[in-house]
Symmetry: C2
Subunit: 344 residues, 2 copies
Amino acid sequence: MALEPTTAGAPSPGLVFDALFGYQRTAALRAAIELDLFRAIGEGPGDVPSLARRCSTSERGTRILCDFLTVIGLLSKTGDRYGHTVTSSMFLDPRSPACVASTARFLGHPMIREPFDRLAEVVRSGHTVLPGQGSVEPDNPAWVEFAHSMAPMMAPMAAPLGGIVLDGKKGPLSVLDIAAGHGLFGIEVAKQNPEARILAIDWAEVLKVASVNAARAGVQDRYEVRAGSAFEVPYGGPHDVVLLTNFLHHFDPPTCVELLRKVRAALKAGGRVAALEFVPNEDRVSPPMAASFSLTMLATTRAGDAHTFAELEAMYREAGFDDIARHPVPTGPHTVVVGHASLR
Amino acid sequence: MALEPTTAGAPSPGLVFDALFGYQRTAALRAAIELDLFRAIGEGPGDVPSLARRCSTSERGTRILCDFLTVIGLLSKTGDRYGHTVTSSMFLDPRSPACVASTARFLGHPMIREPFDRLAEVVRSGHTVLPGQGSVEPDNPAWVEFAHSMAPMMAPMAAPLGGIVLDGKKGPLSVLDIAAGHGLFGIEVAKQNPEARILAIDWAEVLKVASVNAARAGVQDRYEVRAGSAFEVPYGGPHDVVLLTNFLHHFDPPTCVELLRKVRAALKAGGRVAALEFVPNEDRVSPPMAASFSLTMLATTRAGDAHTFAELEAMYREAGFDDIARHPVPTGPHTVVVGHASLR
């Protein structure tokens, strides 16, 4: 929602100020989540004195914050009372199973945020100002936060991804889950196929989160973990399926090809790799969420990008995959790109 | 422009992520201004290698930044070439007389930005985390930056404000310009009425900027300055007109009334005060830019606010003004609120 309405085709200073003040939306939403405001809104009655008591906040601060959230479409206001919008009720009230409020923790992690404070420097040099390999430095603790807090954003994509990957395949199945994170994707495959066995790879501290999630899902007896870099640890196998979720975008095409070759070598002939990615159209400026993700890769990695399908297809081919297809996930901004290990 | 299109009435996680990523819009626009990208775009031809040479930036960084700016509506893209939108051409290309790029300096000043990093704390306490009186501490250097960089945002409102204030009044006129800043408003009155004399009040370092602007406009022989706090320095007079631009929102109603009484005492009977303010509707959540300005006052002051017209009218009456009227400025998000010193 733009701060000022714009007339199609007419110059709009509101569009400029909307961007210059963008950080205030982030700050307001993060503060509301931290103060547990959306729970208090859901519990009612929604007048400022009640909300302030419930959140241990001042009345002045509560009123102004709620007004701002109303302006940006994340609360509603009737008279002096605030309530949920359909969006805040579903995605920000902690009582909702679809609540994504926890994602604010990873998305606000210093590893993600701080490079944006020096973005001009990043654009000059062409790579992150973070040390070393940036976000993909070994054992970066940000990925533990990712595993803890990003599951609600990824969960709606797990069932569709599982369906695409399994494609009705029953019976014993060996699955390698690279950069498993919270583990939800491999766990979902194990839930959809009771004879699937999962081997999850990630940093050791991250795998603790995945293992807890596997136990919660009741698949721990078919869930193994292997700590280390996806570029270095042995993959075992041969596997029927390799999951590569939210991973390839951290690297440039030659590095992706190197990794995909290693994946290819760990697959049975005819086995499949499935990457979950932000895949912009070939124009690189649509759809908005996938296209704008490139900026996060510019800021936090040395050479990553939101690769287009043409780029991903070329990498897959070079690494020995064919029958390559994309499956946009209807429940999220991501696309699953599937390739099959050539029968050579 | 939301990162994901939303269907009216349907819950939209895009609306949530749009807010969580809001800071990236700020960072991208600030980086582009710092790198003088909008000038390079205007000069063409707009391909990545040319832009990177012109801005001394990397090609990877340039491409990704330009794509992001295209997604948020501040550039256009045709094939591999970037160009201006009608908005960026008018408001971001430094060759345009309406360019507002310099406002990024004040709007990104640590005094404005840093309290937003601790917004939950601000909402708890009900006032700024800045020391003392926050942004209105004596001689706060941020106001020198305001005077230097905010003129392009304020300039389009100067002529309408001058017209409203003078209302056709010719002949000798004594004008007091409180919190003059860049001085543009008082200077405009002096330009519209060649017999007007201006007395400008602000911090000493700020008045240096106003004096330079007065000399540039050729009105320096009718332009005097007086350094100090608007609450403490003598106003002289009696004056015909007092300008109070972008000032009352820093204070709570009792403090505004105290100041307005001092203004009333310095006016001739029948003289007028004109405040330039962000004035939200009585619902406090519209129009968006005026309503959302309250959050900046919460973050940077102890008790300021974007006051509604009903609140301003009550303050004016209590201080001895009547015949109070609002004049929305067609060229900006502000409203001029005029009151007349009662003939008592």
